[in-house]
Subunit: 139 residues, 2 copies
């Protein structure tokens, strides 16, 4: 598949061997266009990869900067491509306290007033808005 070739190259450009599992996982992130956790990845891939390999790949991708952890949902770590983020301005997420539904907030800017303090260096922000989704707001 031609898409696989591009994904493989992307992996090698980032210093990672283009193994089957990695190609499938990165392809999934590219195709999904939304944050993914370990369980979802394995289900979408048909449980073909070992759990440990999925975790190791998520860590490898994160260290390489191909993905980053978007947020923690309960006990689950959820990862995504950093494509909707620009530099230190990572896009925020919303989480429904009632049903656990989460969503990327794209049309939503975060601004800060004040400064961190002498010597601190900001590299990234994680913003999570908690509240109620439209469904849970009813009733």
């Amino acid at each position: 598949m031609a898409a696989d070739k591009r994904v493989s190259d992307l992996l090698r450009e980032n210093g990672l061997k283009a193994t089957k599992g990695r190609v499938e996982m990165l392809g999934l992130f590219l195709k999904a266009g939304r944050p993914l956790g370990q369980m979802q990845i394995m289900e979408m891939l048909g449980l073909k990869l070992d759990r440990a390999s999925v975790y190791r790949t998520l860590n490898a991708f994160t260290e390489a900067g191909i993905i980053h952890m978007a947020y923690v949902n309960g006990r689950h770590r959820v990862y995504e491509l950093p494509d909707k983020c620009s530099g230190r301005n990572c896009h925020p997420h919303f989480s429904c306290r009632s049903c656990g539904m989460t969503a990327c907030l794209e049309g939503f800017q975060v601004r800060y007033k004040g400064n961190l303090g002498k010597g601190f260096v900001a590299e990234r922000q994680k913003v999570l808005i908690e509240g109620l989704c439209p469904d849970c707001k009813e009733k």
Copy 2:
């Protein structure tokens, strides 16, 4: 101790029995003035409470609104008093990606531009700035 009396009353005002463990834990939060996790709590209390009780108390306090989860540090959930927060404007935190050091950011305002979307209700924000602390910046 007179302080214990006040803490006990605070617990009862929130519909919680003023047991020894709860008085000690809430006293710790009031005295510490900084976010605390389960491990820190048990160490500071000399391991007098059972692990399960600490977790149950953290949950009870959270449901009562006496504390809330400030952030997740690796696998650890860290809680704090909501006294530095006002309504839906919870104060942000900083976390050093190198040493794991975290800090409350008090002189730091967060502003949003744009809106959530029809039907969404924002109740709380969790903002975590990741980067390097002064010590780790030196390297």
